[in-house]
Amino acid sequence: MNHMPLKRREFLAAGGVSLTLPMLERFATAADAASPPMRAVFVCVPNGVNMWEWHPATTGEDYELTPPLRNLAELRRRFTVFSGLQHTTGGGHGELGVWLTANANYTAGKGAVTRSSISIDQHIAESVGKQTRWSSMVVGGSGGRRTISFDRQGEPVLADNDLAAIFAELVGVANRDRLPRRASVLDFVAAQAKSLRQELGKGDERKLDEYFDSVRAVEKRVQADIAWQAAAKADVMDEARLKLQADPYKPLDYAAYMDTMFELIYLALRTDSTRVVSFATTESEGVGPLKNLPCGSWHNVGHSTGDEPPDQKVKEYAILSEYDAWWTARLAKFLDRLQSTREGGHDMLNRTAVLYGSGMSWPASHRSHNLPLLLAGGEGLKFVHGRHLAFNGQKKAVPQEKNYLTGPKLGPESVMMSDLLRTISEQMGVDAKGFGESRRTLHEVMS
């Protein structure tokens, strides 16, 4: 593979615009800033995992890396793996609507997500997002309403899945000269919407308000683009990593699509375009690109295990393991990318908390206790890593224990996934007391 970075001039030519060089000198990246920003990334890989393998058997620092986690061996000191965290309601295949919202009353729809409550990424973005071009980056492999992000009103935030368009917006240079005009267009249509509003009935007004809010949001983005001087530094771009034409519906393209999306997330963080990212890698159940993974339909295989003991479903569990490792390999690549980029006195991972996991544990019975979750990076946010932490007395599932499918009885002392979400938010500097089902912060992961 040719990893030759793109030269600055080529990059500019690529942008299709001839800027004079003096202007370029103002380009800088977040890396140059004295105190790098804090960031949070949420990556959801739905449909559960091979639960016989995922969680380590012992807790503490000396736990043995399980097969799917071996891909992360090099990063062992940089992440914490959790056992025993849960949502009260998993939502089954509505897991995307619950994962970051912890909405116990969520009703799953058919395929796309339905209304939920605000998700933690948007909660963080409401405060942190003001400082960047994009308040948050919401992306997904299937896109649209296959999202894990929900706004304050509980409306799903559509996930973007158009690689080329995301890249174009990220680079932003191509249309730099027309930004001021864009701003005046948006300002103009906002005024038009306002005068139209008086003519409409109540229901229509609400709809028009959506339009109005959207115009304002895009306007903000344009203003941020205008003010944004730190365009992507040329050596940030790595051509070989960007397969912008990859089509997730083509099995052969699937890995390239996911890797490119991770790379775009990296670039967005690297250029400080945003500090909050949510990535719904694929859909839960569904008929989308999910089945294009190398081994066929992951969802069906998950069901096929019947959550039975491992020796009963050897073939099925082997396939699940393959999936789990396929995804952790992608995660490892992403984390490594962050780790090998310097900023301030540290690497980027130091200031980036990455929550990775599924909204489901046992794939056949769709359990939502003992969720497979790991938190990587963010030591600069006071997270302390290199351990396996188990909560609520959770033990690793063993076939001899008959009741491995049963979640613990939840008492007032129970620790929830909400507590972890809240902790991430608060370490980002955004108060999240009582978020979802949270009752306390997860101090265990900070000491």
Binding site: A13, A14, G16, G90, G94, A108, G109, K110, G111, A112, T114, G143, G144, R145, E155, V157, L158, D160, D162, A164, A165, F167, A168, E169, V171, N175, R178, R181, R182, S184, V185, L186, F188, V189, Q192, L196, E199, L200, G201, K202, G203, D204, K207, L208, E210, Y211, S214, V215, V218, L244, Q245, V287, P289, K291, G296, N300, H303, S304, G306, H366
Partner: protein
């Protein structure tokens, strides 16, 4: 049946009565009939002393606009109607009592529905769907690119779930992502329509391919020949390079098929189908051009004809933009001209709208255009039994040939169908007057109505501001056009409110009609009828509807409605092969065929719908038709002979394909989700899509049927029927599944792609098609099932009723509610109970009150 309500005597025409007195009547009816009923039958348990289930019926008159109230009262209505309330042991209400109370609840619910949605017509401001938006924007700008292979609407975020129609204003939202992408698209479109003064000399290359052929004839046998020819530019002299590439590896050395392209100095370059777009295509022409800007229009003029052996598909001329490992197909056109009489084919591609890899055409300005023959097989050739030769050793049957005689490739400033978007400059006219004149035409088209003075002033103000900032005329005008394209009157179907509900204006009706029938804004004739108000007359509205439906553009409506209704888009991405036997070219030809047949499968039901519209076929024919609408590939798929050519046409149906939609492979495939064992999924599909019954989402942890089968050895020993029956009886989901599961058997004779299930020897496998409808009416097979769907019932045949609801929701652009019941009924009456023609039904819907009123 869940949705069929007995309406009693609700046919009180709400509009005919003065609203105030209607309200009075409604109130007195409550006091006179409902209150006594409640006192006698309900309040004992649901009143001041006891509140069973937390429900009370002793309050003041309820307002069903309140959601909770509505739910309580409609639940009560259902329980009373079913005789579950009052509970056993309590005195039964008399028939008179019942009728009056139920009718009152219906009336209240209907009124509430009208109030909630702010009028009898539409509930909320309806946004254009992504497809409509692209169509309308292109029309407003006066552009069309009929052979452009890029679906621009896919760049706009889709915000609806899998279940509703994308035009359902209740489900639509508008989000920043959508607006952002719409703005991007609007800017790009305007750049294409109104190019800045030519920034570089136009590029133009003309190649006589007969000369090319003469120059290289006889050199194709070499391995990797360098068939490169420099082509001088017609205008600026810069050279481009034309090369014919292909796999001419010595036989036996390579794997897979070899190139069969020929050079013919009499006729030109002869290309056989190329199943592989990138990574060693079998054969194609590549023109490498120097330094082309990434804007303007790429125009290909190719003189081409085809040789088509019997049973083969027509050649397809495909143009792609390529670079290294990326190739983006940008235009496609079927070539039907014969080799002896080649004709000129013109394909236009707006370069700015090609989402080619950013580094592809942009990095160094070079542009490579690949031209090949993209015809897929019309039917794969199976491998002989016992033939174990390697794939490349198998002789391939003769394929069609695309013969290219000459080729002209140009990059020009603006599209050939030049838009009248800019008034031509006249002497003595100021720039501002020219902008005003142009804006008047453009804004009226974008807004689908005359422009108001205040709007005109605002847009001119936008223009002025840009000029004041020093912007040139064109830039300032383009700014106003972009603003118009994303402004609310373009983005939405705006229908301002009035104090009272009101009839729509002629302009508003024109928009509704045009977006319904063509998925785009009104054309000139429709605008004329809106302008003189004649569209408000029933006869003119009917005439215009018919005119629009007669136009081929109405296929947009057929496609959009049918593909969503029957979820046909899922068929495109189904994984398993349709052709299960080994073929002589599994590696390339077959996978190319599989892509093509999926597209055809998804196209058949809309084409069938189009034919039904054309002939005003009775609704019943959707499940009972003696014809099919197929093309060559589908005909072969169905085992029919004698259909050649890529276009869809009507032919008599073979015996196993007389069920209309029910025997169309696309529907069966969409219902089967690519699973061999799909009885339950098929049942759900039939219940929801064909019988129109909403069923709740199943709990999250239910195992798919084929998975259950895999898991449980005992289950595997059962027949499919026994297994499904076990499922619907033991499972806790029996309540729903007893209604769903027995339906799926009706397709037992058809496999997951809708082909007949056959044994190895080709005979039909005995199917067990016995099942029952959700209301337990049994059927023996497909024929009986179809008869049950269309036999007369007390109200309407089952299918007709369901179909009418689906279509009406689409026509109105919102989900139906209680207030629509009477219109559905009156439509049924207006069109007559039996043998309603599709076109008549559509006309009745368009003429109905909700369509013509706010």
């Amino acid at each position: 049946m869940a949705r069929r309500h007995t309406l009693g005597f609700l046919c009180v025409a709400l509009l005919a009565v003065d609203p105030a007195s209607a309200q009075q009547q409604h109130e007195s009816a409550y006091a006179d009939t409902v209150v006594p009923f409640l006192k006698r039958h309900c309040v004992a348990c649901h009143g001041p002393d006891k509140q069973e289930s937390d429900v009370r019926f002793d309050g003041p008159m309820p307002d069903l606009v309140d959601r909770d109230q509505a739910e309580r009262w409609l639940t009560a209505k259902q329980l009373i109607a079913q005789g579950q309330m009052p509970p056993e042991g309590r005195p039964r209400p008399t028939a008179d009592e019942l009728t009056n109370v139920l009718a009152w609840i219906d009336d209240a619910a209907g009124r509430a529905a009208t109030v909630t949605r702010g009028g009898i017509g539409r509930r909320a401001l309806r946004r254009l769907t992504p497809r409509e938006y692209v169509n309308a924007a292109l029309d407003t700008l006066g552009m069309s690119f009929p052979h452009f292979a890029v679906d621009l609407s896919s760049r706009l975020a889709q915000d609806t779930g899998a279940d509703g129609f994308s035009n359902d204003s209740n489900l639509q939202t508008t989000q920043p992502l959508l607006l952002r992408r719409s703005l991007d698209l609007a800017e790009q479109l305007v750049d294409v329509a109104l190019p800045d003064a030519e920034d570089s000399a136009p590029v133009s290359y003309k190649i006589d391919l007969r000369e090319y052929a003469a120059a290289f004839q006889g050199k194709l046998t070499n391995p990797n020949p360098a068939l490169k020819l420099d082509i001088p530019g017609a205008r600026d002299g810069e050279k481009a390079t034309l090369k014919l590439t292909g796999r001419w590896i010595a036989p036996g050395k390579g794997r897979g098929r070899l190139a069969a392209a020929r050079l013919d100095s009499e006729r030109g370059v002869v290309l056989q189908p190329n199943p592989r777009l990138i990574d060693l295509p079998a054969e194609c022409l590549i023109l490498e051009m120097p330094r082309v800007a990434d804007r303007g229009v790429l125009r290909i003029r190719a003189t081409a004809g085809g040789n088509v052996p019997a049973g083969e598909a027509s050649p397809v001329l495909r143009v792609s933009i390529t670079r290294e490992k990326v190739a983006v197909p940008v235009a496609e056109m079927v070539v039907t001209a014969s080799a002896d009489e080649p004709v000129e084919h013109v394909l236009e591609v707006p370069l700015a709208l090609v989402s080619a890899d950013w580094k592809g055409i942009r990095r160094d300005g070079h542009l490579s255009v690949q031209i090949d023959n993209a015809a897929a097989l019309s039917y794969p050739t199976p491998r002989e039994n016992g033939d174990h030769r390697k794939e490349h050793e198998l002789p391939l049957p003769p394929r069609n040939e695309l013969i290219l005689t000459s080729l002209a490739v140009e990059v020009v400033g603006s599209p050939s169908r030049s838009p009248d978007l800019l008034a031509s400059a006249t002497a003595g006219q100021t720039d501002r007057d020219r902008a005003r004149e142009s804006l008047e035409v453009m804004l009226a088209r974008a807004f689908r109505r005359p422009v108001r003075d205040s709007e005109m002033a605002a847009y001119l103000g936008l223009y002025d501001a840009e000029r004041a900032r020093g912007g040139p005329f064109l830039a300032a005008y383009k700014l106003a056009v972009v603003a118009a394209l994303i402004s609310p009157p373009m983005f939405y179907l705006v229908e301002p409110k009035d104090v009272q509900q009101r009839p729509l204006t002629a302009w508003e009706i024109a928009s509704r009609l045009s977006f319904l029938a063509w998925g785009t804004c009104p054309d000139e004739e429709l605008r004329a009828h809106a302008a003189d108000g004649s569209l408000l007359r029933e006869d003119e509205l009917r005439r215009q509807l018919n005119r629009l439906l007669d136009d081929p553009r109405s296929y947009e409506f057929c496609r959009d409605f049918v593909r969503q209704w029957l979820r046909l888009d899922t068929v495109i991405h189904l994984q398993p092969r349709t052709f299960t036997r080994p073929t002589i070219d599994d590696k390339e030809d077959l996978s190319f065929y599989e892509t093509a047949i999926r597209r055809d499968l998804a196209d058949e039901p809309p084409r069938f719908f189009q034919e039904m519209l054309r002939r005003n076929g009775p609704i019943e024919a959707f499940v009972d038709a003696d014809f099919v609408v197929v093309n060559d590939r589908l005909a072969r798929f169905y085992g029919m002979e004698g259909v050649s050519g890529h276009h869809f046409r009507t032919v008599p149906a073979p015996a196993e394909r007389r069920g209309g939609l029910l025997t169309q492979a696309g529907c069966i495939a969409a219902a089967s989700h690519g699973r061999e064992r799909a009885e339950i999924l098929r049942g759900v599909y039939l219940v929801e899509r064909i019988l129109g019954i909403d069923i709740p989402t199943p709990p999250g942890n239910v195992q798919p049927l084929d998975v259950q089968l895999n898991n449980d050895k005992k289950l595997r020993q059962l027949t499919p029927r026994m297994h499904v029956e076990a499922h619907s009886s033991v499972n806790t989901c029996a309540v729903c599944h007893q209604r769903i599961d027995p339906l799926g058997f009706v397709w037992d004779q058809y496999d997951m792609f809708g082909q007949m299930r056959r044994g190895k020897d080709g005979t039909l496998i005995a199917a067990a098609t016995k099942g029952s409808l959700p209301d337990k009416t049994p059927f023996a097979d497909m024929d009986e099932f179809r008869r049950l769907l269309i036999e007369p019932t007390a109200t309407m045949p089952r299918f007709t009723d369901a179909f009418q609801r689906r279509l009406y929701a689409y026509v109105l652009g919102r989900s139906l509610d209680h207030g629509d019941e009477k219109h559905l009924r009156s439509m049924a009456l207006a069109t007559g109970r039996t043998a309603v023609g599709l076109r008549d039904l559509l006309a009745a819907m368009v003429l109905s009150e909700p369509f013509r009123n706010k």
